[in-house]
């Protein structure tokens, strides 16, 4: 199960990297509202990446790093964890 999860998230990471540059728009010079279409794609993709990273941090943080079992327990604990030790300017 954890192995599957690891492979799944690795695939997600590869897709996020691969399509950050919209290769399928190569040579395209269309613009929307004065901004090249390929740049709109990139802006949207970076937003999507943030959402995916946030999901990963909620559901699978520790995957591949912490020993099995620790990740799940850690993520449960993190839900109640306050931001202790955070130094603010």
């Amino acid at each position: 199960m954890r192995h599957l999860q690891l492979v799944g998230w690795l695939a997600v990471a590869v897709v996020l990297c691969t399509l950050a540059i919209p290769w399928f728009l190569w040579g395209d010079s269309r613009t929307v509202a004065g901004i090249p279409l390929w740049l709109w794609w990139h802006i949207g993709w970076m937003g999507l990446t943030s959402v995916v990273f946030w999901l990963f941090s909620r559901r699978a943080w520790g995957l591949g790093i912490e020993p099995d079992g620790a990740t799940q327990a850690g993520n449960m604990a993190a839900k109640t964890e306050t931001d202790a030790g955070g130094d603010q300017p």
Partner: protein, 494 residues
């Protein structure tokens, strides 16, 4: 008027930075861990912005818009991929694991972490030594840049040596006083400042020229090819090579890598990780669009000059242009102070201290003593790079320019070591030395070419380092004093 204003803003910034440094000094414990890592206490905002400001400052204001002006805005895609996505993934893959190991074993530098696992002080020294080979000339380039900028700003009233010297002296004073905590606080202010002024600059420019549609129409009339994705300059191989080598290189740059150890909690790392891509795109898009649009506007960029100051001078009020330019110079200094601090930590902890311990047979040096040595290390490092910057030898210049790819050569062997138990010291040593030798040879000799069917030597060197590390590890047995389970067993966040 402009000059007085710019100098006033720079001096104002320096005084503010010193004041923050003083507050940080009063709060600090007198230990090396506090000086280098602020005792591992950073919250989300501080960690996010200190990494951000350290990483991006000077390039975003000057070189980035220049490239967009000359070649089109595609750089923004390369920056987004390398900094926003690849580096963020390494933030987890390298950073979170490093943070856990730092929490469990008290590591302060990358060399320390690797030296412990592979059971050899000389290996620790090797990693630190290679890092300094790339970092030292890079710091020197910042001093050259700051000295040149100050000379240009005062139209020669302050000669180059005095400009670089003044900035070095200020940085020594500031870093010795403030340590990591003070640096991170000024970085946070600076990161927020950079973000705000870049957006204001873009909106101001657009308000004057009549919105993005007319700005783009003007660009299309002047250089229509800049709107199409890709060109002879921006080939897929070049874009990917650049994004991958710089993205991996950034994670090994001492001042960035060390910040992985400084997070206050795993929640801080998680939040920063999720916010990182958004933060990157928020800064890159306006800064690169200003550069790209400038091509279609009626501005003349002097030979070798920077695009952003010229555009701002033309389209925004004097005070605002001065604010941005002075801010950019201050940003340059804020990157240098982090590099200085990290460089001195590699020097004192991984090179100087092991030698001292070996020679005097002491097993440990007191925390206060180490704190003092750390501050002396800053002075030595900064003075040496200042003296080098006066001569600016060609070899050092070239090393500094290539630093990102140089650091990238370290990344894959380190990842292999972090995730594969069978990695051996012989494998690591061979992988690191082979890729470094290959990349250096591509820079300085004609025997090793610098491009391979469009892929850069930095990229090929990374693959070579990976293959050699894994290959040699497979055919060698671990040395008796290697701790093979160190990176795996008992790794818990609490």
């Amino acid at each position: 008027m402009t000059l007085a204003l710019q100098l006033g803003i720079i001096v104002g910034y320096l005084i503010l930075a010193l004041a923050i440094g003083l507050v940080a000094y009063r709060l600090a414990d007198r230990t090396a861990e506090d000086f280098y890592l602020a005792s591992r206490t950073f919250g989300t905002i501080v960690l996010l912005f200190t990494t951000f400001a350290t990483l991006l400052s000077a390039f975003t204001f000057f070189a980035g818009p220049n490239v967009a002006y000359q070649q089109g805005p595609e750089w923004v895609l390369v920056m987004g991929l390398m900094d926003g996505i690849i580096f963020a993934i390494l933030w987890y893959v390298i950073g979170y694991k490093q943070w856990l190991l730092g929490q469990n074993h008290g590591y302060v530098t990358l060399g320390e972490m690797l030296g412990d696992r592979f059971g050899a002080t000389w290996f620790r020294g090797l990693v630190a030594g290679i890092s300094l080979v790339w970092l030292f000339p890079y710091v020197m380039l910042q001093q050259v840049g700051a000295g040149t900028a100050l000379t240009a700003l005062t139209e020669g009233a302050i000669p180059y040596w005095a400009g670089a010297g003044l900035i070095t002296a200020f940085m020594i004073l500031y870093v010795v006083l403030a340590g990591m905590r003070g640096i991170a606080w000024t970085d946070t202010l600076q990161g927020a400042f950079m973000l705000v002024v870049t957006w204001v600059a873009m909106l101001w420019l657009l308000a004057v020229v009549g919105g993005p549609t007319s700005a783009t129409a003007a660009l299309e009339a002047e250089a229509a090819q800049h709107l199409a994705l890709g060109s002879d300059h921006y080939t897929p191989q070049w874009m990917l090579s650049t994004a991958i080598t710089i993205g991996f290189g950034v994670a090994m740059f001492p001042q960035v890598n060390q910040r992985f150890f400084a997070a206050g909690s795993r929640t801080v790392l998680k939040r920063s990780f999720a916010l990182w891509p958004i933060l990157c795109v928020l800064l890159f898009v306006p800064s690169f669009l200003i550069g790209a649009w400038a091509r279609g506007l009626d501005v003349t960029i002097p030979e070798g000059g920077n695009v952003l100051p010229v555009v701002l001078a033309e389209y925004t009020p004097v005070w605002f242009a001065a604010l941005v330019i002075a801010g950019a110079m201050a940003a340059m200094m804020s990157s240098s102070d982090s590099m200085l601090l990290s460089g001195s930590s590699y020097f004192t902890r991984d090179l100087y201290r092991p030698v001292l311990e070996y020679r005097s047979d002491i097993q440990s040096i007191s925390a206060q003593r180490e704190d003092f040595v750390a501050r002396v290390g800053v002075v030595i490092f900064a003075t040496a790079s200042f003296l080098a910057s006066l001569v600016n030898p060609a070899t050092l210049f070239e090393l500094g320019e290539a630093a990102f790819s140089g650091f990238a050569q370290l990344a894959l062997p380190v990842i292999v070591a972090l995730y594969w138990r069978r990695t051996t010291r012989a494998g690591m040593t061979a992988g690191i030395l082979a890729s470094q030798a290959f990349y250096l040879a591509s820079l300085f000799t004609v025997v090793v070419p610098s491009a391979y069917a469009g892929w850069t030597a930095g990229m090929v060197g990374m693959v070579l380092g990976l293959v050699v590390t894994v290959g040699v590890s497979l055919v060698t047995t671990p040395a008796a004093d290697e701790q093979r389970a160190l990176y795996f067993d008992g790794l818990r966040a609490d």
